[in-house]
């Protein structure tokens, strides 16, 4: 039953990706900067800096690239107020936390990504409320983007 639920959720999440609404947020359009064809996922990222700053929050992480070398990436999230109203405070994500995070890379090829989901060391799933905008970042999935 549980496996079925997970499979169903995954399938539906995939479907929502195909049904993307306009990608605009209260600051910039998703496609002005990021590339939906460049999804990234970091399974073991170490938080090096958390900047809860307008108009977007940025979470900086060290990750190992394919050659085993460490790279620092900047992950864009929603504004501090968008995050605060979702329960994410200055105490939620800490430097040194080992997290899992995914998103979409910058069109210009720099090590920047529009973040989507983040999993904290204690297993908490955070929806990054990226830019308060539309998919591929903003479509919420029960059980993934919410705690229940």
């Amino acid at each position: 039953m549980k496996n079925k639920l997970i499979a169903g959720t995954a399938a539906l999440a995939g479907l929502t990706l195909l049904m993307q609404p306009a990608r605009l947020d209260a600051h910039h359009a998703f496609a002005a900067e990021f590339d939906e064809k460049k999804p990234v996922k970091f399974e073991d990222a170490v938080v090096t800096k958390v900047a809860l700053i307008n108009p977007h929050s940025w979470i900086y992480v060290d990750v190992k690239n394919a050659d085993g070398k460490t790279e620092n990436w900047a992950i864009e999230a929603g504004s501090p107020n968008v995050l605060l109203r979702r329960g994410i405070t200055k105490d939620t994500i800490k430097v040194g936390d080992r997290i899992v995070v995914d998103g979409y890379q910058s069109k210009d090829g720099s090590r920047r990504a529009n973040g989507r989901d983040m999993r904290l060391p204690n297993g908490t799933q955070l929806f990054l409320g990226t830019s308060g905008d539309a998919a591929p970042n903003e479509v919420q999935r029960p059980g993934i983007d919410t705690k229940n």
Binding site: T16, A22, I53, H56, R85, G129
Partner: protein, 270 residues
């Protein structure tokens, strides 16, 4: 209802209430409540001593897919934030040539030329449609709109004065209001042509005349019917209605877009 939106509704139903930080989750006196103490958003709209509806409260335009009480930007911005001509099958048919040319230019730029993308202000009428809340404070003779976006304000004069005949242009323009029954009718002119009507390249001239009709449906919901009249930019007036939701026991927070903007040097068009 589309399938996509049903996801939001499920997510909202499951979402836990959150009340972090010093501004949020503080019970506001005068809020009608259900037996369990939660704000009763379905209660009738409150009224002032003069019998007029009290529109005061912290409001935000509803995201596509619905509301999540007190959560800003609960989903993608409403369609009129993105596109004030969303209801037109052939929007180009009512755009004057210069308006259409500017729009086509913005499409090529992936809307990176939007004032918002450069942390310029959200002018009128875009200020009404933002996915940032605003606090409306209603007093005799004056209504104040305190916008979270850029921690700024708009004054709506309800003291009987008229619109200026030859206004000095500003981002939010000059606004006067009067009551039509239970509906507050606000007229605005003097909006700079640097402001856009939406986030998608629909511009206007400084001949723009905006009419907003605010109707508080109940304690938790307000409808704002907006009419855009700018014959030099659009061949005929057009209207759309925003649904706004109350953030109960909440408040506006500080938000300065220019604090630490890091995107503008990375914008790439098509």
């Amino acid at each position: 209802m589309s399938f996509r939106y049903s996801w939001f509704l499920i997510a909202f139903a499951l979402a836990p209430a959150v009340a972090p930080a010093q501004w949020l989750g503080r019970p506001i006196p005068g809020t009608p409540r259900t037996a369990d103490g939660k704000p009763n958003l379905a209660a009738p709209a409150p009224r002032l001593a003069d019998g007029k509806p009290d529109l005061s409260g912290t409001w935000e335009s509803e995201s596509e897919g619905g509301n999540r009480a007190g959560v800003s930007a609960a989903g993608p911005p409403n369609k009129y934030f993105s596109n004030v001509l969303a209801d037109f099958k052939t929007p180009e048919s009512i755009m004057q040539p210069a308006t259409l040319a500017q729009y086509n230019k913005s499409v090529k730029a992936e809307f990176a030329d939007s004032p918002l993308a450069h942390c310029q202000p959200a002018g009128m009428p875009l200020a009404d449609a933002m996915t940032n809340p605003y606090k409306l404070v209603q007093t005799p003779g004056l209504i104040m709109m305190m916008y979270e976006r850029d921690t700024t304000f708009r004054q709506i004069y309800t003291d009987g004065r008229s619109l200026p005949a030859d206004p000095q242009p500003t981002w939010l323009g000059y606004s006067v209001g009067r009551w039509d029954g239970d509906t507050l009718v606000v007229e605005t002119n003097g909006v700079t042509d640097r402001a856009w009507l939406d986030a998608r390249g629909h511009t206007h001239t400084e001949g723009l005349h905006i009419t907003e009709r605010f109707h508080r449906v109940n304690f938790g919901k307000m409808e704002v019917a907006i009419t855009i009249d700018d014959p030099k930019a659009y061949t005929k007036p057009f209207s759309y209605t925003l649904v706004q939701n109350l953030f109960p026991d909440s408040d506006v927070l500080e938000f300065f877009c220019s604090d630490d903007e890091k995107d503008v040097n990375h914008y790439r068009g098509k």
